[in-house]
Every structure is written in structure tokens, then in C-alpha cells.
């Protein structure tokens, strides 16, 4: 009732101001008339009665205004008036409005876009019910780094851990689908039965896996993603219960996942089959699975960690004493945290950087407003003299800045939407949770909050400046006779802009040097003119013993004969491709002082002249060759750093070693180190053998082709050569080695690109800020400059005066900025490579760049000052 009345009466007053005004007026008149009539009844003469009535009432206009001033609509009214006035003012100085709006739009837009990305990746809960209960189970080796999980540990925990509702292990799986058009290799996962239960998502149709599906030689069943169901089966609901052909086998479709299912662990996976782990291969304790779990209700992560740690150590100590030591530990950690661990610090650094750009942008706007405030002194003083309350004037000025920020924020949203698209398009492949990035309410809310903050923050100083004005002073001195430097506030602000720009430029400089250093790293192989692709042998024709091997050998022979190919080979894992096939390697007999196979050893099965093709140098002994076939003595080649680390001071040649369940192999050679995981991680242990001397069949294999010249141009010829052997085999992951090399630094480059953009923006904004402040100061000091030159100052003197002023501001900013950069760049530590965060060269370079820029920015105002004609300057009053 009250609210309703407030609303309707207020709205009526707003929409029909004159009618409500008339009513108030009528009521006041009636009051007057009644008062006068009363006096007349007492016998007072009419004229005197009217006077007395007016006396009683007081100033009728004041009463009307008082009554009229009640109600919320007046706030709306005056705000609208302020807005109208503000927009008139902004329209009347289009240059100022354009520059500030653009600055704010870019600042707010960039900040909003980056925030949306960071928020989605780092802070949005995972898209599962009770996401806080979804955890990753990790095992830490002696060196404190997390290892992949083992099937043995999964089984033990599934049986015994009481704090877990569900636990699951999974690995990737790339089946080839046939029978429906072209054969296509699909991205999928092999998962243990509890996978979807651990995530908390059930199939939209059909059923989930159960324990009876997940056993060796269990039923061939598959669950499809919504995407593959739409693409390959045209949303045919009857597909559930029917079979599809994957790798020449019939799999029964038992379920379809909902369209909304976001598989954060493998976003590209399109279908899932039960893991059906083969324990007979002896790899139950090999680290090659990932483990996730769902905590039981009410169980904290700490409690779960205590349980899995105790359980895991007990199981290892009992079943695998040779790999167990006191440093081994287990934990449960939030899956979201685990997914974003690698990118967290980089994203936060980027967020901080963009926030700094926004600060510079706001400071610039503040400075422009302050400079304008000086020029508007006359107007504001006049308004104050006419009776405007200070609060009212301040409110009006704030309205103006908020309007400016609002327009900037609106365009900023456009910038943000475009920026977000660009960010997603440019984002490195290893960026997790990209699916969660999007335009949403949070983004709008953030933009609104930022816009308001920017509006208030950048408008506050100018508004306070206006409040401090003494109307009398300024009406008298409207001609700005005062001599003086620049407002203290503006000097501090522009110096802080320089300081922030320095921080951003140093950060991007350090990142630039890191990426340079990264690409200067010796990867251990020659990447130029090398083409790579992955080939898989799928189908029952490869069931017979040795068929897969024969296929790869024939394919390799064919590829070698392709014109332009100088050398070709195959490898079970390709450097810098994301492949990671890791085994524990043990010497037999054990070597004294062997630190052991801590982080595991990369195992390569290589076919053909792999070392020659990749340009990996032989250090000692011999390479693998045609002698090393099945049935011949088992031999292996190890990497240089492995020999150095595991066999310090010993001759590796002739030593015997076991690779997981296989061996023993005799070491026949030592080759150079290769960067397998990334450019930054070197010194990795590696062991090489031929495919025919490996215990299992490696499938798929990566083909590496060295070409005489342009390797990429050979792609179709090489493909045809493989298909000449068997046209049904899928070929994927075609890339030149150079492209893999570049791609491996993608996330660093991504961060670098953003920092470069922010650094550049900061530089331009700071220069613009400096220019604006100096230009304003020249205008304010016009008369002083006139006096100086009238008294004999040369043009050079005057230019020096302004240039020195600019340099003083810059120097102050640089000094503060260096301090800030020394602190701030620590945030970047994980992103840096081969360069210290206090790298002097970067700092010196940035200081020089900033100083030069500030001289350029000061030059024009200085030149203008030097052209001041003393006669005009002195007469202009």
C-alpha cells in the first residue's frame, strides 16, 4: 500500500509535473485565503488581512518549493536534470568526450573480458552437482612432484577408502568409427565404471556403466556424447541398444550423455567405453592413469587426504616396497584447483596487468577532468555564488563523470564481447575450462561495478577540487592571473601513471626475454624440414601376431620412396606433442648410488633411422638398427643425462636394465637429450628400443619424415604412401616439427601477447597523460611564460622549462615504478624462463623507452610554450 502510493504519486509527479505543481499551488493559495478570511472575520481591513496572512505563511514560493521537494521523484528529477546538463557539456567538447570515452571503453572492456576468462577458469565451480566434492587423487614421488595414478592404487582405494563415494581412473582412447561413411578417428576415453558417478552426471538416455561392464573381456559397450549422437546418428533415439563399429569391433550403445555435460577432464572426448583393465600385462603399478573421486557427503578434503594418504602408503609399503619410501605421499585435492594449477598464476598476473591498465586509463580521465576543472572554475564559482550548495555542485560533477564512465562502460561491453571472442580464439590449447568462458550475467555485473567504480574514482578528485573553490576569489580572478606550476594532485597522478606503465612494460619485457630464451633452448633434435603424423593400425586384420608391425614397416618403406623424402622413421612417442609414455627403469644388477627412476623414464619404441631423421646425436656406443629384431638379444639406447645421473662415473655400455615389466635390455648406446614434455623442462631420462623388441605392441605410431626442403608440402604424398599399404587407416595429428616446437610455448606466447598489448596501452596512455598535463600547464602558465620571455628568457629557456617539468614527473614515476616492478614481477616468476625477475637489461631498456617517450610527449607543449608571444600574452587580460 505504502510502496504503491509512493510509486504512483511519484510517477504522477514525474510525468505530469505541472498538474502536481498546480495542486500544490492551489493548496497554498487556499491556505492564504483562509488565513486572510479569518483575519477579516475579526474585523481587520481586507488589505491588512492579506498582509497578515502572507506574514503567517512566510514566502509562498518557499513553501511551494518545500512541499514540492518532498518525494523520491525529486531525486530522479534532479538527477535527470544533471544528466541533461552533463550530456550538454560533454557534447559541447566532443574532443574531450571522445578521448575519455575511448580510453574508458578500452580499459573497462579489456578488464571485463579478462575477468570473464579468469572467473570462468579459476572461480566458476565445476558444472557438476556438489562440485566441491569432486576431487583429484594425487600421488607424489620422492621429488615432490605429482605422478600419474596407478590401477593398483585405484583398486585398493575403491575397495577400502570410506571417505569416497565414488572413485574412477581413466585414460584417453582414440577409436576409429567405421560403417557410417568415412572412417573417422574419434577422441574418447576409457573410464572405470564409476567415472560418471564421480562427476555426478548420469546419461540422459540409457544407462551408466556398472561394475559388470568394467572387467577384462567384459561386454563391448559404449556411451556416446550428445555431440557424436547428433553428428553421426542424427539424434536417433533408437540407437540405444544398437551397435556401432569401433576399431572393427561391435560396441553396443548403452547410453547418451546430456548435451549439457561438460567433461572438464577431456573436453574433446566424444565417447566412452569401460576401462576393462588388463592386469595380466603387469602394469598395475605403472603410472599412466588419472584418478578422480567424489567425496562422501560431509567429508572434508582434509579428512579424505588423511585417509587416502594413510591407505596409499600402507598399500605401497605392503605391495610395492621397492618403489615406496618415506617421501611418498597421497592427497585429495579440489579437481578445479588441479585442472587450473598450471595456468593459475599466469591468469592472475594477466588479471593484475589489465587492472593496472584500467587504473592508468582512469587516472588519465581524472587528469583530463582536473585540467578541465581549472578551466571551468568561473562557471562553478558562479553557480556557487548563485546559491548552489557545494554538495549539489559536487553531485552534478560526479554525475558528469558517471555519465562519461557509463558511455565508456557501454562501449566497453562491446569491446569486452569482441575481446572475449578473440581471447578464446587465441587461447593456447592447454587452457582448461575454455567451454565455461562466455558472455553471462557475471560479466555484465562486473562491467557495471567497474564502470561505477571508475566513474566515482575518476570523478572524486575533480569534484573535491571544485568544492574547495572559493567563489569570491575566482569570480574576481576569472582571468587566471595566478602564476604557478601544476596542481599537486595532477603531478602525483601523472607520475603514478608513469610508474604503472613501467611495471607493465618491465613485465612484458621479462616475458619477451623468456620466450626468446625458450626458443634459444637446444631441443636436442633438428626440427627444420621434419613432417610428423600419427598413424594407427585398426581392425581385426591386425589381430594376427606381427601384423601391426608389418603394417608400420611397409608404410615406412613406402614413405621413404616418396620423392623429396631424405629420411623417415617411426616412434611410439613424439617430442613436444603431449605424448607421455613413462616407465620405471631399474638396472640389473642394481648400481650403487643410483638415485632411482624418480620421475620416470620416457620409453620410445623407434623404427627405422629415427636418430638420423630427427638429428639426435650419438654420444657413445651404437644406434639401434636392423640387427635388433625380435628374437635377437634385447638392446636399448639411453639418453645422455640418464647415463650421467643414474650411472655417475660408470660406463653405461653393457649395463642391463629393466623397463617396467620388460627386459632385461643391454645398453648399447648413449644419445643426446631431447626435450620431450616442453621446452622449459630439460634433462629428462629416456630409453629407446626397437618395436619388435618391446613387450607390447605400440599402436598408434608417429611417423617422422625429413624432407629435402619444405616438409609440409609433402603431406599428401606421404599420406598417399601410407594409404597405399592400407587405405582404411586413419592418419591424424599432421604437423611439422617446427609447428610443434612453436605450439609448445603457446601459453607463454599467449601471456606475452597480452602483456605486450597491455604494456603498449600503458605506454600510450601514460604518454597521453603526460602530454595532457603539460599542455594544460602551458595554457595555465601562459601569462607567466609571457612575462618570462618579456624579461629576456630565450625560446630555448622556455622549452627547457617545460621539458624539465616533464622529465621531473617522469623521473619520479620511474623511481616509484622500479620499486613496484621489483615487487610485482615476482607474480610472474612461474612464467619466466632463463631470466631473473630483476634482469637489469630489461629494466634499463624500459627506463630508456619511457624517458624517450616522455620527451616526445613533452616536446609539443614545450614547443608551444616557446612560441608564446609576450605581447599577446600580457595583453590578453
Amino acid at each position: 500500500m505504502r510502496l504503491f502510493r509512493q510509486l504512483t504519486r511519484g510517477l504522477r509527479a514525474l510525468t505530469n509535473r505541472s498538474a502536481t505543481d498546480r495542486e500544490i499551488d492551489e493548496e497554498v493559495q487556499h491556505y492564504l485565503a483562509q488565513a486572510a478570511a479569518e483575519q477579516e472575520r475579526r474585523g481587520v481591513p481586507r488589505a491588512e488581512a492579506a498582509r497578515m496572512a502572507r506574514l503567517e505563511l512566510g514566502n509562498a514560493t518557499n513553501v511551494r518549493e518545500q512541499v514540492r521537494g518532498y518525494g523520491w521523484e525529486n531525486v530522479v528529477d534532479s538527477t535527470l536534470a544533471d544528466l541533461r546538463y552533463a550530456s550538454r557539456r560533454l557534447r559541447s567538447s566532443p574532443g574531450f568526450t571522445f578521448v575519455t570515452t575511448l580510453t574508458l571503453a578500452l580499459g573497462i572492456g579489456a578488464t571485463t573480458a579478462i575477468f570473464s576468462v579468469v572467473n570462468a577458469i579459476l572461480f566458476d565451480p565445476l558444472p557438476y552437482p556438489h562440485p566441491e566434492r569432486v576431487v583429484a587423487i594425487r600421488e607424489f614421488g620422492t621429488d615432490g612432484a605429482p605422478n600419474a595414478g596407478t590401477f593398483g592404487m585405484y583398486r585398493a582405494m575403491a575397495d577400502r577408502a570410506r571417505s569416497l563415494d565414488a572413485i574412477a581412473v581413466f585414460r584417453s582412447w582414440q577409436p576409429t568409427i567405421t560403417g557410417r561413411g568415412e572412417p573417422e578417428r574419434l577422441e574418447g576415453q576409457r573410464v572405470s565404471a564409476g567415472y560418471f558417478r564421480a562427476l555426478g552426471i548420469a546419461p540422459a538416455m540409457g544407462r551408466d556403466f556398472d561394475a559388470s561392464d568394467d572387467r577384462l573381456n567384459g561386454p563391448r559397450v559404449v556411451i556416446l556424447s550428445d555431440a557424436v549422437w547428433r553428428r553421426h546418428f542424427q539424434t536417433d533415439r533408437a540407437i540405444v541398444g544398437k551397435t556401432v563399429t569401433l576399431d572393427d569391433d561391435s560396441y553396443m550403445v548403452i547410453g547418451i550423455m546430456p548435451a549439457s555435460f561438460d567433461n572438464v577432464l577431456a573436453p574433446q572426448a566424444l565417447l566412452w567405453a569401460p576401462l576393462q583393465y588388463d592386469l595380466s600385462q603387469g602394469r598395475a603399478w605403472g603410472h599412466h592413469l588419472r584418478t578422480i573421486a567424489r567425496l562422501a557427503p560431509g567429508v572434508s578434503i582434509d579428512r579424505a587426504t588423511r585417509e587416502v594418504d594413510a591407505l596409499g602408503r600402507a598399500v605401497l609399503a605392503e605391495q610395492r616396497p621397492e618403489t615406496y619410501d618415506a617421501a611418498t605421499r597421497f592427497d585429495a585435492t579440489s579437481l578445479r584447483g588441479e585442472l587450473t594449477r598450471g595456468v593459475r598464476s599466469a591468469l592472475l598476473a594477466i588479471m593484475a596487468a589489465v587492472a593496472l591498465v584500467l587504473v592508468i586509463a582512469s587516472v588519465n580521465v581524472t587528469n583530463l577532468l582536473l585540467a578541465r576543472g581549472v578551466r571551468r572554475r568561473g562557471e562553478i564559482s558562479l553557480r556557487a555564488a548563485l546559491g548552489a550548495a557545494r554538495g549539489r555542485v559536487m553531485r552534478q560533477l560526479l554525475t558528469e563523470t558517471l555519465l562519461l564512465a557509463g558511455v565508456g562502460g557501454t562501449f566497453g561491453l562491446v569491446v569486452a564481447v569482441l575481446g572475449l571472442r578473440a581471447l578464446v580464439a587465441l587461447s593456447p590449447a592447454e587452457l582448461p575450462r575454455v567451454a565455461a568462458i562466455g558472455i553471462d550475467g557475471t560479466m555484465f555485473a562486473f562491467a557495471l561495478v567497474v564502470t561505477t567504480l571508475v566513474g566515482v574514482a575518476s570523478g572524486l578528485a575533480p569534484a573535491i577540487q571544485a568544492m574547495r573553490l572559493n567563489p569570491g576569489d575566482d569570480l574576481q580572478h576569472a582571468s587566471r592571473r595566478t602564476v604557478g606550476g601544476l596542481g599537486h594532485t595532477r603531478a602525483v597522478l601523472v607520475s603514478s601513471e608513469v610508474a604503472i606503465a613501467l611495471v607493465l612494460l618491465v613485465s612484458s619485457g621479462l616475458l619477451l626475454r623468456s620466450v626468446e630464451r625458450l626458443f634459444a633452448v637446444d631441443v636436442g633434435f633438428a626440427s627444420s624440414n621434419v613432417l610428423t603424423m600419427q598413424i594407427q593400425a585398426t581392425g581385426h586384420r591386425f589381430d594376427p601376431e606381427g601384423a601391426t608391425g608389418r603394417f608400420f614397416e611397409q608404410a615406412l618403406d613406402n614413405v621413404r620412396r616418396v620423392p623429396g623424402v631424405t629420411n623417415a622413421a617411426m616412434t611410439s612417442q613424439l617430442p613436444l606433442s603431449g605424448d607421455a609414455d613413462i616407465y620405471g627403469v631399474f638396472f640389473e644388477p642394481a648400481v650403487p648410488n643410483d638415485p632411482g627412476s624418480l620421475r620416470g623414464t620416457f620409453r620410445y619404441a623407434v623404427l627405422g633411422d629415427y636418430f638420423a631423421t630427427m638429428g639426435i646425436p650419438l654420444r657413445r656406443g651404437r644406434l639401434l638398427d636392423a640387427r635388433d629384431r625380435a628374437g635377437a638379444p634385447l638392446v636399448a639406447v639411453i639418453s645422455e643425462s640418464m647415463a650421467r645421473r643414474r650411472l655417475p662415473g660408470l660406463d653405461p655400455i653393457g649395463r642391463q636394465l629393466r623397463v617396467g615389466p620388460a627386459g632385461p635390455y643391454t645398453v648399447v648406446g648413449v644419445v643426446g637429450d631431447v626435450r620431450q614434455e616442453s621446452l622449459a623442462l630439460g634433462e629428462t631420462d629416456a630409453v629407446y628400443m626397437t618395436p619388435s623388441q618391446w613387450k607390447f605392441e605400440d599402436n598408434p605410431m608417429s611417423l617422422v619424415v625429413h624432407a629435402r626442403s619444405d616438409a609440409a608440402a609433402l603431406t599428401s604424398a606421404v599420406r598417399a604412401a601410407v594409404w597405399a599399404v592400407d587405405k582404411d587407416q586413419p592418419i591424424v595429428r599432421v604437423a611439422t616439427m617446427d609447428a610443434l616446437l612453436t605450439g609448445s610455448a603457446a601459453s607463454r606466447r599467449f601471456a606475452l601477447r597480452l602483456f605486450e598489448a597491455f604494456g603498449l596501452a600503458a605506454l600510450v596512455l601514460a604518454a597521453a597523460g603526460l602530454y595532457g598535463v603539460l599542455a594544460g600547464s602551458v595554457v595555465e602558465r601562459w601569462r607567466e611564460i609571457g612575462v618570462r620571455s618579456a624579461l629576456g628568457a630565450s625560446r630555448g629557456d622556455i622549452m627547457g622549462l617545460i621539458l624539465r617539468q616533464g622529465l621531473r614527473l617522469t623521473t619520479l614515476g620511474v623511481v616509484v615504478g622500479i620499486g613496484g616492478a621489483l615487487l610485482a614481477t615476482r607474480l610472474l616468476a612461474t612464467q619466466l624462463f632463463g631470466v631473473s625477475h630483476v634482469d637489469p637489461l630489461t629494466y634499463v631498456g624500459v627506463v630508456v623507452l619511457l624517458t624517450l617517450t616522455s620527451i616526445v610527449a613533452s616536446a609539443l607543449p614545450a614547443w608551444r610554450a616557446s612560441r608564446v608571444d609576450p605581447v599577446t600574452a600580457l595583453r590578453s587580460e
Binding site: E23, Y31, A33, A37, L57, V63, Q66, Y70
Partner: protein, 111 residues
């Protein structure tokens, strides 16, 4: 009447208006005079405050306002107490009485 009058005690104007209107509907001038009369001229109502208060009370839903023709054929805005207004008056009266007796007790204790 000229000497001893004071402005209405801060915060009591609303209550006085409600009380006055609980007797009969009145226009602004009528309310002012009635308050002065009943208080025997102790309280003098400021017309600006009165008219603003009426506006506020009407918005609050405690009064209804209506334009009526008066005896001398002029239009005047008459205010009537609503049910919500009557409840509010009861509350304010009770509250007032409590305060007054508290103050009275304090003053007695002092003496």
C-alpha cells in the same frame, strides 16, 4: 496568544495531524488552526512544514486526500484518516505516553 506560543515539538507534528484528523476530515488551514486551538495556542504550526507533512502522510497511506468544494465555493484539499492512519495514531500515542511518563518520572526523581 502572541507571546507564549512555540513551534510544534520536533517529531510530534505527524501525531498531532493524525489526532486532529481522527476527529473529522479537514483541509490544511483547518488542521493548523485546530492544532493551535486545541493546544490553546501553545503550538504554532509552520504552514510549510504542515503541507509537507501532509504530503508525506498521504504518501505513507495514513491519510487520503480529496478535492472538495467548500462553503464559499472554493476548492480545497480535504484530508481523511485511513485505517492504517488510525493504527499509526494509536501506536504513536502509546509511544508518546510512554516517553512522557518516563520523562515525568525522571524529572520527579531529580526534584
Amino acid at each position: 496568544m502572541e507571546e507564549n506560543n512555540t513551534d510544534v515539538i520536533q517529531g510530534t507534528l505527524d501525531m498531532l495531524i493524525l489526532k486532529t484528523l481522527s476527529l473529522q476530515p479537514l483541509h490544511g488551514f483547518g488542521i493548523a488552526r485546530r492544532i493551535e486551538q486545541i493546544s490553546r495556542g501553545v503550538f504554532k504550526v509552520n504552514p510549510g512544514s504542515l503541507l509537507t507533512a501532509l504530503q508525506r502522510l498521504e504518501r505513507a497511506g495514513w491519510l487520503d486526500a480529496e478535492w472538495r468544494d467548500t462553503e464559499n465555493a472554493r476548492r480545497a484539499k480535504y484530508y481523511t484518516l485511513t485505517r492504517a492512519g488510525r493504527k499509526q495514531l494509536d501506536e504513536e500515542t502509546a509511544d508518546w505516553n510512554r516517553r512522557v511518563s518516563a520523562v515525568a518520572r525522571l524529572l520527579k526523581a531529580d526534584a
